[in-house]
Amino acid sequence: MLEIKNLTCGYDAKFFLKDINLKIENRELVGIIGPNGSGKTTLLKGMTRVLKPKKGGIFLEGKNIAQMGFKELAKRIAVVSQSFETGFMSVEEFVLLGRIPHFERFQFLETKKDLEITRKCMMLTDTLRFKDRPISEISGGERQLALIARALAQEPKLLLLDEPTTHLDITHQVGILDLISRLNKELELTVIMVLHDLNLASEYCHRLVLINEGKMHKIGVPSQVLNYQTIEEIYKTVVLVEKNPVSSKPYILVVSEEERQKRKNG
């Protein structure tokens, strides 16, 4: 599906990501994790062509994305970014923007098909109920849903998400990730998402990519990547890794300084 070969890229003269090699299979749900400033979002930006690679390349189904047309790429890869600008429009109009890559050169109105697809995407994401409200006035959780609906309207094969659960309460976190994993299964979407929360990443992702200081540190199923040695080494934090009793995925527990001191002394 997607192959990243020797990718080196970054902002201006600083090359932040160095020699990233990554292969993602069809219908996989992959999480990118790593400390703040480790290059997770930079990697995502490389995949969406916001940043140009300095070396190496990214190949989508065997084709280098640098040689694909912008529209062509947008029909295959959709991005849910942490954007704060929304303009002034209704939720429905916002989702309809996702159809832009499918418009013909001299087409000025949405076709029936566009409207049907938009409607379907809003149904899937449960955004239909507030479709007429202004996008600037809905809650954070609803916004995230609208962003996902817009990405789906592009009818992509690959969905990229940049921290889809930040600033959301636990209900919406689980809701969004359940939705993403449903989309992954039912629509056969390949999903790559940057996640901050290690427990959510462990629970939902098939494979995890751990990035540190612009380099790939480890890649594998959650139980391979998330062990306490790795986490303590990369995140410089003392943790306990247990098993989630229901899903038997690794679960990370943090310990406060006070408790650590107590242990030491006691």
Partner: protein
């Protein structure tokens, strides 16, 4: 969807009839009042009467030029606002009009009309506008001055610099050029050359047609440049083409009609309140409304203190300036919330 299209058609027809009404009003009013009924008679009678030449040699050219310049400036305003995602930018506040003005002044003083003919002013106006746009473009991209205050301040400074440069040019120019420059700076739709009027109309309508190729790109830009890229828009190329288009529209309008400020600010702002932010309807309705507004202002300008004539740029400047301050204070509230 159908509802939307119907409401769009409705808005376009409302604006078209408004434009038509203002055109007729403008044809009728003036020092020699010719009533509507009489106009038909005059047209049927044909060439030769005094009324005929008042209508077709004096009033109609001004109306057509008002249509072209008003439409072009409003369109340039909408496009710039879409690109910078800010309702306060327009050719005048960004200093583009000032740049075009320097170009035109230089062409008057350097007598470029000898080698280039009547096209000297439009060409130099376009070059001046393009130069300023290029400057703003590099500043906003290279230095990242995308923040609106910075952009507007840069625009104001460019306007200051260009008006100082114009004064410098005036102070060293010959007396016979001086009159031309002053008259031209104040902005007027008085243009005796039919060819330029036709050319201006052609450029305005051409600009409107071309802008429609970018209506979805402009819609996508409202989410930010990165999101536009995600939606398959070639951001760099689109921006470059739109910059060229706006400098063509502004440069040409300014070089034919002088500095007519704030139209590109007032009109789109007003239109947005009614039709929303979808550029598919916003572009055409701003064009029509801008045309109607400028023809109306011009009619006022030539009748208010008749038989003397106010420069139309003064009128739009006063109206637009007041409006700008009003919009800015309103905007502060919105910015504060962010």
């Amino acid at each position: 969807m159908k509802k939307k299209v119907i409401s769009w058609i409705l808005w376009i027809s409302i604006l078209c009839s408004l434009l038509l009404g203002i055109v007729l009003f403008s044809l009728c009013t003036g020092s020699a009042g010719i009533s509507l009924k009489k106009i038909l008679g005059v047209i049927l009678e044909g060439r030769g009467t005094i009324e005929y030449s008042i209508l077709f040699d004096i009033r109609l050219p001004r109306i057509i030029l008002g249509f072209a310049v008003g439409g072009a400036l409003s369109l340039a305003g909408v496009i710039l606002q879409g690109m910078f995602r800010n309702p306060l930018v327009e050719p005048y506040t960004l200093g583009i009009s000032g740049g075009a003005a320097i170009g035109v002044c230089l062409s008057i003083v350097l007598r470029l009309n000898r080698p280039l003919g009547i096209l000297s002013m439009p060409i130099s106006g376009f070059l001046g506008a393009a130069l300023i746009i290029l400057l703003i473009y590099t500043l906003s991209i290279r230095k990242g001055i995308l923040k609106i205050q910075g952009l507007l301040l840069t625009g104001v400074m460019i306007s200051f610099i260009s008006s100082s440069l114009i004064m410098l040019i005036m102070s060293i120019s010959r007396a016979e050029d001086l009159h031309g420059i002053i008259f031209w700076i104040m902005g007027s739709l008085e243009e005796p050359n039919w060819f330029l009027i036709k050319l201006a109309s052609f450029i305005a309508i051409f600009g409107l047609a071309v802008s429609y190729l970018f209506c979805f790109s402009l819609n996508a830009f409202s989410l930010g440049e990165e999101e536009a890229l995600h939606l398959g828009i070639n951001v760099e190329r689109t921006k470059r083409l739109l910059f060229i288009l706006t400098s063509l529209l502004t440069g040409f309008s300014v070089s034919v009609a002088g500095i007519i400020g704030f139209i590109g600010l007032v009109v789109p702002h007003f239109i947005r309140m009614f039709v929303g932010n979808d550029h598919r309807i916003l572009l055409i309705s701003s064009f029509l409304c801008g045309a109607a507004f400028l023809i109306f202002c011009d009619t006022l300008a030539r009748t208010v203190i008749s038989p003397m004539e106010l420069p139309v740029g003064v009128l739009t400047g006063i109206l637009g300036g007041i409006f700008f301050v009003y919009a800015l204070t309103k905007r502060q509230v919105a910015l504060g919330r962010k």
